[in-house]
């Protein structure tokens, strides 16, 4: 493989350089470099009367406020907690689905998987909006609950943390199912037969063979849900109601409502620091997965 790659590369050195350099420079300029600017702005002072409302200093006032005001710490912890619970909810829904699809007859797997991904191709915003209608006071869910006669006053799910878990699980389900399916599908069916042959009952075989072998899929899926969920804005904003404290919302409000760019930048930098470890883990997992092919 590498020998071939070298041969091809020798044929077209400029072609090789271009395929690497063009996307590399683009991403450096438009994805990596901005973080340096965010870092610089986060250290500056908020000056509402200038355009833009920032004066570059090295005061670090925003960070002092970030540490000093307990609201921010609470928002970070809350975001991590909500993202973690939502990730587990997504895993609990996604794993049995991925498992069943991977065990379905070969001709069924493509369409079944397609049906999981299909909603992802329609608007994210509109799918969250759909849940507003379903979860509201007189929404479909409560109509069904009342109609069934089981519950007289079901209360309203909209505006609670449960609505956020549900929204995240709904919006991110394909990102959980796809890596899980990939790791479950490539598992050799003979391994489960070997386990049964050696005396393992189905549940034991699942626990000792299937589950550990699907661990890369579990890690990949969970990271794909957890990391963006920590900084999620639309779902807590539309489904969580006014009381919900999540860091993505805090950043949004600092920027759009208060116009405090340094504070918003400091919040973003702090979020980045929290997420660096899981992002590196995610990149490593992806690199390993590709090397394994």
């Amino acid at each position: 493989m590498s020998a071939t790659a070298r041969t091809v590369a020798r044929g077209a050195p400029w072609g090789r350089a271009a395929t690497i350099l063009v996307p590399y420079l683009w991403l450096l300029l438009f994805f990596a470099a901005p973080f340096a600017i965010v870092a610089a702005i986060s250290l500056g002072d908020y000056t509402p009367d200038t355009v833009p409302p920032v004066t570059l200093t090295w005061s670090g006032k925003a960070y002092a406020l970030l540490v000093g005001d307990a609201l921010y710490a609470a928002a970070y912890l809350n975001s991590l907690r909500i993202a973690a619970i939502a990730t587990i909810v997504t895993l609990l829904i996604g794993y049995p689905m991925a498992y069943t699809i991977a065990r379905a007859p070969a001709g069924w797997r493509g369409p079944l998987l397609m049906a999981v991904i299909l909603p992802f191709w329609t608007s994210f915003l509109i799918r969250i909006y759909a849940w507003m209608g379903i979860l509201s006071e007189n929404g479909l869910l409560n109509q069904v609950l009342r109609g069934s006669g089981l519950v007289d006053d079901p209360g309203t799910l909209l505006g609670t943390e449960w609505a956020i878990y549900l929204g995240i699980a709904y919006a991110y389900l394909p990102f959980m199912v796809l890596p899980l399916y990939a790791s479950l599908e490539k598992m050799d069916a003979a391994l489960l037969e070997a386990a049964a042959d050696l005396g393992a009952r189905p549940w034991t075989a699942f626990r000792t063979v299937t589950l550990p072998l699907s661990l890369p899929g579990i890690v990949g899926g969970c990271l794909l849900v957890f990391i963006p969920a920590v900084g999620e804005f639309v779902i807590p904003d539309l489904l969580g109601g006014t009381g919900t404290l999540m860091i993505g919302k805090v950043l949004w409000d600092e920027f759009f409502s208060n116009g405090d760019w340094p504070m918003a930048s400091a919040v973003a930098m702090a979020m980045l620091v929290v997420l660096v470890a899981p992002i590196v883990l995610f990149q490593r997992a992806r690199a390993r997965d590709l090397a394994g092919r």
Binding site: D188, A190, L191, E193, A194, A195, A196, D197, L198, G199, A200, R201, T204, A205, T208, V209, P212, L213
Partner: protein, 360 residues
């Protein structure tokens, strides 16, 4: 003594395909039994029926006096060595071997002792901590074997156990497996498509074709007395002709066979008294001589081709009757000065008892 394994009228269908089309078979304790056949003959399905991965549509399987109908794989007194080995990639060699014992909830100390013992037996004691991907093909094969025998099953099922090994290693391992089987006293049931492997290893062979067992017997019996054309053709090389029984004398059948130069004699076979039959003559049972004044018997012909195989050569001889036969000769001398070569005029002869008569 009742059979250890009794297969009674077993049928297994997959949709329209009948993989196993009615098999009756008894296998005795202590046998090294081979199921031999080409791809798609149903041998692997039969093995999987024994392991419990498939359930028969009809018939039943009894192992050691217990009807296995409805008994799941994890509760059967048999273990299997998979063709792909199916080693658990996330577990070390020792953990792979311990897996089956852990399912029996044996005490930790006993598990460790038995794992160490069986790993020594297959000479992998030094590799207990390695993962399967760190082993060579031959070592993986021995892990798979160790994992299956550590549970001391009544029957060990082997699905093409040596197919993934290269030729040298395969030949050595064949004898090691036979030796191991004698030492452990476990009954082996082995699936193979390789007739040499079956002949070398098995005490008895069942030749399968299209879901049925065609012939069961010891290797020599199957080679020397094939019951039909399929078996004669499948096992070893054979020259096969059509003929008609025209009479009987001195316990020999008289058979008219144009390609062999008219009427020939062959040993009588029970149940065959007249009509059209097939004849088989193994190539090593034909003799080849130069066609000159000293040699006048047999059929005349000329050598069309010689295939040199080292220990022996195969001569393709075009007979004057129009037929072509294969004749094998050992290359006993390193340089035979009188070697027969391509184009030489020859005479082919055989003894009466070299001819096997089979129903058509």
């Amino acid at each position: 003594m009742p059979a250890l394994i009794r297969i009674e009228g077993v049928i297994r269908r997959f949709g329209d395909i009948v993989a196993v089309a009615g098999v009756d078979l008894d296998i005795q304790a202590g046998e090294l039994f081979a199921l031999l056949g080409g791809s798609g003959c149903g041998k692997t399905t039969l093995l999987r029926l024994l392991a419990g991965f498939e359930a028969p549509d009809e018939g039943r399987i009894v192992i050691d006096g217990v009807d296995m109908t409805g008994v799941p794989p994890y509760a059967r007194p048999v273990n299997m060595m998979f063709q792909s080995y199916a080693l658990f990639p996330h577990m070390s060699v020792a953990r792979n071997v311990a897996y089956g014992l852990e399912r029996e909830r044996l005490p930790r100390a006993e598990i460790e002792a038995r794992v160490a013992q069986v790993l020594d037996l297959v000479e992998l004691g030094a590799h207990a901590g390695r993962k399967p991907h760190q082993l060579s093909g031959g070592q993986r094969q021995r892990v798979a074997l160790a994992r299956a025998i550590v549970k001391r099953p009544k029957v060990l099922l082997l699905d093409e156990p040596l197919a993934a090994l290269d030729r040298k290693l395969r030949e050595r391992t064949q004898l090691e497996l036979v030796e191991l089987q004698r030492r452990l006293g476990i009954t082996f049931v082995m699936v193979t498509h390789d007739q040499d492997e079956a002949m070398t290893m098995a005490t008895r062979i069942a030749v399968m074709d299209r879901g049925r067992i065609v012939q069961v017997g010891a290797p020599a019996e199957i080679y020397e007395q094939p019951v039909n054309r399929f078996v004669a053709d499948f096992i070893g090389l054979a020259n096969i002709f059509e003929g008609d029984i025209v009479g009987r004398s001195d316990g020999l059948l008289r058979i008219r066979c144009g390609p062999l130069g008219g009427e020939i004699a062959a040993p009588a076979v029970a149940g065959l008294a007249g009509g059209a039959v097939s004849l088989a003559i193994r190539p090593e049972k034909l003799s080849l001589r130069r066609d000159d004044a000293a040699n006048t018997g047999g059929l005349a012909g000329h050598v069309r081709d010689v295939v040199y195989l080292g220990d022996e050569s195969i001569f393709h001889v075009a007979l004057q009757t129009g037929a072509t036969v294969q004749v094998t000769r050992m290359n006993a001398q390193r340089r035979a000065s009188a070697a027969i070569t391509r184009g030489d005029a020859v005479r082919v002869t055989w003894a009466d008892d070299a001819v096997v008569v089979m129903p058509q």
